[in-house]
Amino acid sequence: MTMAKREGNRGDERVVPAAGKTGPGKRGEGGSLGSAGPRPLKVGRRDLLALGVAGLLSGAAYAFLRENPRGAPLLRPPGAQDEGEFADRCLRCLACVRACMTGCLEPAGREFGVDRFLTPRFNPALAKCEFELCGRACAKACPVGAIGLPPDREVRIGVAWVDRDRCIAWRDGKDCLVCHERCAYQAIEPDGRGRPRVLEERCTGCGACQNTCVTCPDPAIVVYPASMVPRSGGGGRRRGRL
């Protein structure tokens, strides 16, 4: 291919000599010159189909992923940015879910709405969070920094809360302190009558208590996000279900 050959343009050079300045949004830029006069804009089948696909995807997401206000509390991985920023930043690639050591993370279900669907959810029912042992695998896996790396003592995933209507120690006076025994932070201490009480300032929300609670089918001690903790213990005022 010689230069002379290359410049010896034939073909539609005869039809239209000048190349219009075109952007990437226009068809036929650069090499493919328009015909004489401006080329008409024509919406083709493929454009309509592309519009349909994009519209259908986002439309379906917003139509079918309605937030269910009675949904379970949405706990985030340890060190996550505060909820608003986290939901904005998270790409929902599930890298953290894959990276978790204990398998305590799961993609949030559709009951959390379109803004949170498929974002990582810490579910203590699956496992407790071992943020002091795993080296923050989830935070290191996150490609957009939605999960930060604060020091261990500043991690506060949520706060445990005892449902006194369900807890067998509170309700039936049984001799059960499994949650107290399991807690690594001495955040659950028995009161004078051997009933568990949560010391909120010590609780990290690691979920060990909830994970180990013997009450069936739902645990009587539940970790809530710090902003969602019910004010008092039980009395039919539980805010969520699991």
Binding site: M1, K5, R6, N9, R10, G11, D12, E13, R14, V15, G23, P24, G25, K26, R27, G28, E29, G30, G31, S32, L33, G34, S35, A36, G37, R39, P40, L41, K42, V43, G44, R46, D47, L49, A50, A54, L57, S58, A61, G84, A87, D88, R89, C90, L91, R92, C93, L94, A95, V97, R98, A99, C100, M101, P107, G135, A141, P143, V144, G145
Partner: protein, 337 residues
């Protein structure tokens, strides 16, 4: 006049195709390996999922809201390479694109690819003016980027690397990657690369980066598809072979670096081209692959009518006249002049 044997030609053709397939599959395997190896304990060597870091859309969305600057360099590097060459990422690397490209396409779709090409006479003159198309993907990209500062992050629905990674994790953990399955169905119904070419916002961003580098000549560009219009016989095989359904290669009347910004530089057109030296892949002015074949343009330019292998391949009704010598010869100059 060098005459090549068809067998030689075929061998030469397969080389680029298989090279690209190998590269694609290697990247797909690397992607899956990285996604797999990301489980606990973290591997000593595969520390980060590079595919997620190289994603300019993810980096952009993080950058727009992050207080701290994130390590954006892989994404910047990809944008720079795209600026210097074109949208090679889609044709050679993207794991989602690789999977979609393996989807067989129904034959009836083949006819439709030709719709964007302006019909030409035997002498190569354009018979009818073509039409511009609005490109939905650019609008979609714009909409996604505009929505980002308002806290609406729809990248999880549209970013191919995020979709691919999420689907891989979902498969590993035994749940159903619904969006991925939907894309497979879309590829079956509308063509393997329909998503990549018409919807994908990352593809649109990379196309735009390629457009920004349109001023580079082929001796400055890292990778470019170069056409020699003088050698082209206007048979349309390049448009039929293109997995991205780009018709510019066939449609253009110019020689030199093709400025088709949707081109993923995969080289399938080059392999399908029956004209010696009409298409080549060039890196920094050095040819790395070139089309070979028996076809030569006739003395007057345009395709020779005596050789059936070099005739127009198009199947669109509007082109049927273009294959007929008598008809087009009378029509061509009339319209063109």
């Amino acid at each position: 006049m060098r005459a090549r044997k068809p067998t030689q030609k075929r061998e030469a053709r397969r080389t680029l195709h298989y090279t690209r397939r190998s590269v694609q599959l290697a990247f797909l395997a690397a992607f899956l390996l990285l996604a797999w190896a990301a489980s606990y304990p973290p591997s000593r060597y595969l520390r980060e999922n590079f595919f997620l870091r190289v994603d300019p859309l993810g980096a952009l969305s993080a950058f727009m809201r992050a207080s701290a600057l994130l390590p954006l360099w892989p994404a910047m590097a990809l944008l720079l390479l795209t600026f210097l060459s074109g949208r090679f990422f889609c044709g050679w690397i993207c794991p989602l694109g690789t999977v979609l490209e393996m989807i067989p396409s129904p034959l009836r779709l083949k006819k439709r690819r030709m719709e964007g090409i302006r019909p030409r006479g035997v002498d190569g003159a354009v018979l009818l003016p073509g039409a511009r198309r609005p490109r939905v993907k650019y609008l979609l990209l714009l909409a996604l980027l505009v929505l980002l500062p308002f806290g609406v992050n729809l990248l999880w629905l549209f970013d191919p690397l995020v979709i691919a990674h999420r689907s891989a994790v979902q498969v590993f953990t035994g749940s159903l990657p619904l969006l991925f399955l939907g894309l497979l169905v879309l590829a079956l119904a509308a063509g393997p690369r329909f998503w990549c070419q018409e919807v994908c916002p990352l593809g649109a961003l990379l196309s735009a980066a390629g457009w920004a580098g349109r001023g580079l000549r082929e001796d400055k560009a890292l990778l470019s598809l170069v056409k020699d219009e003088a050698a082209c016989v206007h048979c349309g095989r390049c448009a039929l072979a293109c997995p991205f359904w780009i018709t510019e290669v066939a449609d253009t009347g110019r020689s030199g670096r093709l400025l088709a910004f949707d081109c993923a530089l995969c080289g399938e057109c080059l392999e399908a081209c029956p004209a010696d030296g009409a298409l080549s892949l060039v890196s920094l002015g050095r040819r790395i692959a070139v089309s070979t074949g028996p076809c030569k343009p006739s003395e007057s330019g345009g395709r020779r009518r005596d050789d059936p292998t070099c005739q127009w391949e198009g199947m669109s009704p509007s082109f049927e006249g273009a294959g007929d010598g008598e008809q087009t010869r009378t029509k061509g100059p009339g319209r063109g002049g």
